[in-house]
Structures are given as C-alpha cells and as structure tokens.
Amino acid sequence: MGRSADWGRIRAIAWKDLTAERRSKAGFYSVAALGITILVLFGFALGPDTRALRDAAVGALWLAVFFAGVLTFNRSYQVELDGGALDTLLLYGGGRWTIFTGKLLANLAFVMMMLVIVLIVGAVLFQVQVPAQWPTLLAVLALGVIGLVTLGTFYAAMASRSRAREVLLPLLLFPMMVPVLLAAIQASKALFGADLMQESGAWMRLLVAYDLVFLIITHLAFEYVIEV
C-alpha cells in the first residue's frame, strides 16, 4: 500500500507538471526557442570557419541545454507558487521525496525533449556527423541530463523559497554543475572524435558516480529545503 501510494503520488506530480507545461503558452516552446537561440548566437560568434564550428559544437550544445534547463527548473516551481499551490502540495501526506521524484521525472522528460531539438538544430548549424559510437554518445547525453536535472530540480526548490529565485538559482547551480558539464562535454568530444584514446569511459564513470551521489543526497535533503 505504501509503495503503491508513493508511486501514485510520483506519477500524479509528473503528469500534472507535464500537462500544465504542455498547455502553458510560455512553456516548452519558449524554452526550446532559448536553446536554439543560444546555438545560433554561438554560430554567429564563431564565424564561418567549419572546423571551428565543429570543435565548438559539443560545448555549445551542452551550454544551450544548460541555460534552457535553468529556465525549465524555475518554471517547475513557479507553477506551484502561482495561486499558493505549493502549500496545498506540501499538506498532502506521504514522503516529501515523492514530490521531488515526480518533479525530477517531469523535468527529465522536458529536458530530454529539448535536447532532441537542440541536437537536430546543432547538427545542422555546426555541420556535425553522427559518430560511429552513437549508442555510447546517447548514454553520455542521458547521464549528463540526469546530473543537470537532478541538481536543477533540487536547487530550484531551494530558490523557490526566496523572492530573488530567478537570480538565486543560476548562482547556486553554476558552481555545482561544473563537474557534470566538464565530464559531459569531454566525453561527448571524445566520442565525436572517434575516442582514439578511450577517454570517454573515464568521464562516463565520473558522470555515473556524480549522478548516483547527487540523486541520493538530493532525495534525502529535499524535505529540509522545501519546508520553511
């Protein structure tokens, strides 16, 4: 009963967040548009040099996902703050961690969808070929997104209790995200370059360790950051 009730709450929160975002005019499209704009701006900044574009493609792609993700995480809690829904949400019984897991799953789905769009646009803009080790690349992308969304969802909860949340979230998140971004960019770069030195494995192990540690810590600590 306990586990099925917890799973029911997780599903309900994920469904509610995705439904509300899908219907909101300022939802997915504006976030995806930001991601694409960042890629285009990087393209302009780097100029017409094809090699420079290819070299910078992976970094530009991850930064586009990162900045658009920050917008997503902020919106995830804004839905709760509008009309005082957060209080109601906190008063339902059951573990607080179910709220976090539900929001985490919704944000994961949201950022994954955005990643697909950014990847397609990035591949066209930066003239990047799909590497032979594309299954490994998919794993790197998934691990990077899990790290980004885990920390983003957690720190957005913390920032949601502050009036300066739009400013606070990037300030809190940026330093914590450096290892994930670094590992994801280096692993992706290695795979796009055929990974002759077998570098991607080490970076992927770092990503797995980072994701596991922060998935556990954020689930345990969520209760303390969401309560006043």
């Binding site: 009730a5 029911g8 709450r9 599903r11 309900a12 929160i13 469904w15 509610k16 439904t19 509300a20 219907r23 909101s24 839905v79 509008d82 009309g83 005082g84 829904a85 957060l86 209080d87 109601t88 949400l89 906190l90 008063l91 339902y92 019984g93 059951g94 309560e227 006043v228």
Partner: protein
Amino acid sequence: MASWKSHTLLDARDIARRFGARWVLRGASITVASGEVVGLLGANGSGKSTLLRVLATLLRPNAGTATIAGYDIMREPDAVRHNIGFLAHTPGLYDDLTARENLVFAAAMLGSPAADIDGALERVALTHVADERVRGFSAGMQRRLAIARLALSRPRVLLLDEPYSNLDTAGTVLMNSLITDTVDAGGAALVVLHELAPSAGVIDRLATVHDGRIASGFDAAEAEPRFALVGAD
C-alpha cells in the same frame, strides 16, 4: 453537536513565531474540542493566519507546542497532515488543469484515486465546467473547487482561513455544510473570520487574536451584541 464535545482535537500552547526580528505570534494558546467550531477574529496582522499555518505544519513555531488529533505538529507532522483540511486565502489550484483534473490530482496525492470526483463536482455545482481550465474560473468558482478538494480528504480537523471570501450565498451554504458535516462526524474546525454573518449558526465559540496572543474567548451567541456595539456609532 454537544454530545461530541468529549475530547480535545486541537490543543495549542504558547505558540510563538517570528519573521526576522518581528514577533507575529507571542504565545498563542487555544483548544478546540471534537464537535466544536471556533472562530478566530482579529485585526489585520494580528497573527490569525500565521497561527493557522503553524497548526497546519506549514510553518515551524519558534516556541510552544501543539497537538492535532493527538499528534504533535513538530514530531509527527505527517500524521497531523493526514488529519487536517487546510484552506488558505489562495485556492491553491493549477490554472492550466481543468476542474476535474485538479480533483483527480488531489485524489491521487491523497492516496485515494478511486474517489468520487463527479460527486464532488456536483456537490459544489461545477459539473457544467468540469472539463474547463481553472484559469477561466471566477474567484468564487475557484473557491468552490477548493472546497470540493478539501472534502475529498475527509479531514478530522478543518483549519480555514477566511473561507467565505469570494463566495456567493450558495457557496457560503456549501462551506457551512462542509463544516457541519465535519463536526457532526466528531471533527472540529478552527476558522479565521473577518465578518460573522456568513458563519451564523455554525460557530460555537469565538476567540480574538491581538498582538500575537489569544486575547479573549466568548460564546458565539454573545458575539452579535458586542459587534453591534462596535459598529453602533
């Protein structure tokens, strides 16, 4: 109703809470017995809503203790949440979900996905807009939907913050029926009020909050002459 007044369902002692350097509650104590409805009156900023939020486990008190349905609000907050129904100033609904979806979500969160959603919507006369988004609802309709959500949880203790605001006459009747149903089933209610008229016949006892403390308490039957005197000049 009087036969239910056998044991204390809400017992708050010396609750204190501050925001920054400002003490909003300075030792508020109140008890509510089963089968009893207590109204809280007081000026804006006197601490009524803060007291309700502390009792609802939404704010931690800086001092004092409280139990609801026998559970300590600090040590057993989850058990307290299972026993209370809290209605805040704001309805706490999701604008981009429909009325039905809001209730389906609430039922899932309450762990009772098989709840009678259609019946709840019918009770608050929102069946005709069940599949419309809440964004287009008037404040009164949103309040009705919040009442329907509150009823889904079948709480033992109602904590209501200005429950009659934005409600028309029919909505007021609905709110009063929710309160009487709860206390008739052996529950209790603590209701923050700004005016007495909508709650006439429902409130058993009144207490006034002044400067973060419960300043006085008196039977609701006494209240009308007092308030008539206040407004007489």
